[in-house]
């Protein structure tokens, strides 16, 4: 029997009606993979199969890279303004298909409809940013560096790039890279996550509709073999990757560097949210909820270690009680129900991994004050991938749950006597993706921003996700490379600078 507040709202219409086997998009055509190995793509809320995706072969990769390589000479000679116009056409199509793409994201990933729409918007913003390429790609010059001699820097594209994207943002993450790559005159191969290939399949359809020349942007589905082949392919100039640190550092960066690739490798995280005693609690609580439980905690910017600063037990208890209450009230269910605030995690494997961390936390002596294993799901869905929000207290930075990335809806409460101690705790962790402080003190906030070694700093902002005009930063074990995705960093990553010195006799 459901309680009144548990009643499920009407489910938004699902855009995927039939199961089909996806094809690769290569050289402007939809081609079947040579592989006989096919994987199911499932909806983590309903556990229903949505599509079949091929695990492409090395031969498939060769075809995609060759197509991109062949398209490159003509594409780089296409004027930046003309290239920008292709992007503007794509932008228009993305707007027209906004809701359909958002619902596909919910179905294949499990996130809520608000989260998925937010993801689409962020992707579109990158297209808008990249469409400014006629200006963004400009070089610079100086007259008379010596008598009668002028010098200039011009930016030129390299050739073929690729991105290897993760399951947690199936639509958005390739947009941190490919719009900039093609805007600057490179050609591209997108490798979507085989767990969530439908969003990028939808993007490929729109790229075809936008009329990009054959081979400029290609999409290839698959797994490790595809990744390995792309990393070692002699025609691939550079690789963008988003995923875990072990894979990013030990596979992508190690192998890619060995094969001379330009690399931007965005990895894992263990993000701190530091709560000062003067924080505005009413506004802080929803922000902390969004940071920790948004996307079911499956994002590299998710808040995880929530560190309450100060010796005041009353403040600590008040904060703890507030977050426990707020987290207990979170409605968990299928993201196409608009009243649902948190969806399932992507797969049973991922759920098992998170459950393993909860067990470890208990064994390590942390206190589970909200047990997310006690399921309360809105609607009649299999519990395979669902978890409710969990909260541990008495967590220390040396505990496994305090130092490793859980990538699930688990909050770990910590305490620090003062800001010095909190910053020390942040620095004791090998990751450096993001950290936030909640305070009313400008002085403390400035100190936090100045000292904390993380790529993305939030001041009264729990989810430090940079918009398209700024790089998606990251430090320490959260990033390997020198130029990040998005913004001018992306323009620089995808262009080579050439110096020209001129003298006329």
């Amino acid at each position: 029997m459901c309680r009144e507040e548990d009643v499920q709202l009407a489910i938004l219409e699902e855009p995927i009606k039939e199961i089909r086997t996806l094809k690769n998009y290569v050289n402007g055509e939809w081609v079947e993979s040579n592989s006989s190995k096919i994987l199911d793509v499932t909806n983590p809320a309903t556990c229903k199969v949505l599509a079949k995706v091929p695990v492409s072969t090395g031969q498939d990769v060769d075809a995609a890279v060759e197509a991109a390589q062949e398209a490159f000479p003509e594409w780089r000679r296409t004027t930046p303004l003309a290239r920008a116009r292709y992007l503007l056409r794509l932008r228009q199509l993305l707007e027209e298909n906004f809701e359909r793409l958002a619902r596909i994201g919910v179905m294949e990933n499990g996130k809520t409809i608000d989260e998925s729409r937010g993801e689409i918007r962020r992707g579109i913003e990158n297209v808008e940013m990249a469409a400014g390429i006629p200006t963004l790609m400009m070089g610079y010059n100086a007259e008379d560096v010596s008598s009668g001699i002028d010098e200039q820097v011009i930016r030129q594209p390299y050739g073929v790039f690729t991105c290897i994207s993760p399951f947690n943002f199936p639509f958005m993450i390739p947009f941190w890279f490919f719009p900039y790559a093609v805007a600057t005159g490179n050609t591209y191969v997108v490798k979507p996550s085989s767990e969530v290939p439908l969003s990028q399949n939808g993007v490929a359809e729109l790229i075809e509709e936008a009329g990009f020349p054959e081979g400029v942007i290609n999409f290839i589905h698959g797994g490790r073999e595809v990744v390995d082949k792309l990393l070692k392919h002699p025609s691939i100039k550079g690789v963008s990757f988003v995923g875990s640190t072990p894979v990013g550092r030990d596979v992508i960066y190690a192998i890619g560097a060995k094969h001379g690739k330009k690399l931007q490798v965005q990895c894992g995280a263990k993000n701190y949210l530091v709560i000062m005693e003067d924080a505005v609690l009413d506004a802080t609580i929803p922000s902390v909820m969004t940071s920790v439980y948004g996307n079911a905690g499956q994002r590299c910017l998710a808040g995880s270690n929530v560190c309450i600063v100060g010796k005041d037990d009353t403040f600590y208890k008040r904060f703890r009680d507030h977050v426990v209450q707020a987290a207990s009230n979170i409605r968990v269910g299928y993201g196409l129900d608009e009243s649902v605030q948190m969806g399932p995690v992507k797969s049973q494997d991922k759920k098992e991994r998170i459950l393993g961390y909860i067990e470890k936390g208990i064994q390590e002596g942390a206190k589970l004050v909200l047990d997310g294993r006690r399921l309360r799901i809105i609607g009649d869905y299999p519990d395979t991938c669902f978890l409710n929000p969990a909260i541990f207290e008495d967590v220390t930075p040396d505990m496994i749950i305090g130092k490793e990335e859980i990538f699930g809806p688990v909050m770990t409460l910590m305490r620090a006597n003062n800001l010095d101690e909190a910053i020390e705790m942040i620095h004791s962790n090998p990751y450096g993706n993001s950290a936030s402080i909640y305070t009313a003190s400008g002085k403390e906030a400035r100190r936090f921003q100045y000292e904390v070694q993380c790529g993305n700093i939030g001041i009264n902002v729990g989810l430090v996700a940079p918009i398209a005009f700024f790089p998606f930063s990251g430090m320490k074990d959260s990033f390997f490379g020198d130029r990040h995705g998005q913004g001018m960093d992306a323009v620089e990553f995808f262009t080579e600078r050439k110096v020209v010195i001129t003298r006329w006799f």
Partner: protein, 151 residues
């Protein structure tokens, strides 16, 4: 039902605007209410425009970083509008009913404005503008009523 996410708020609001627009459009076709026909048609058109304004604002500002799933705590039961009218309801009674509807709708827009202003300023601005507009609609309907009763 809870209105606890931005999406739920926007959908509920869209339904309200449609419901009210349909109400005015139907009234405008009734012969015995012809005194207010032009106003009723105008109001209905405005409802459609308002819906579009709020939906566009939401779609253009929503990002995954906002507290869209965690900052709202409204309940639709407080804002449900009854647009049913009995046959042969007099013109003044119909206008009185319209005033009640507008006042309730105004309350929703005001509450949605308050809840969204700290996180989605464009959506809040849209709700704020529309809330003001609802008050001016109430005034317009009142003057319609007064001009009818004074004749």
């Amino acid at each position: 039902m809870p209105l606890n996410t931005a999406s739920a708020i926007i959908s509920f609001y869209a339904k309200l605007e449609d419901q009210v627009a349909n109400f005015y459009e139907q009234l405008a076709t009734v012969e015995s209410y012809s005194a207010g026909k032009e106003t009723l048609q105008d109001l209905a058109k405005e409802n459609r425009r308002h819906r579009e304004l709020v939906e566009r604002a939401y779609r253009e500002v929503i990002t995954d970083a906002l507290e869209a799933c965690f900052a709202f705590s409204m309940n639709e039961s407080h804002y449900i509008i009854d647009t049913d009218i009995a046959k042969k309801t007099s013109y003044p009674d119909v206008i009185k009913k319209a005033i009640e509807i507008e006042e309730k709708h105004h309350r929703f827009c005001l509450d949605a404005y308050e809840k969204s202003k700290s996180l989605m300023s464009d959506v809040a601005q849209a709700f704020g503008r529309i809330a003001k507009k609802k008050l001016s609609r109430v005034a317009r309907l009142r003057s319609l009523l007064e001009s009818y009763t004074s004749t």
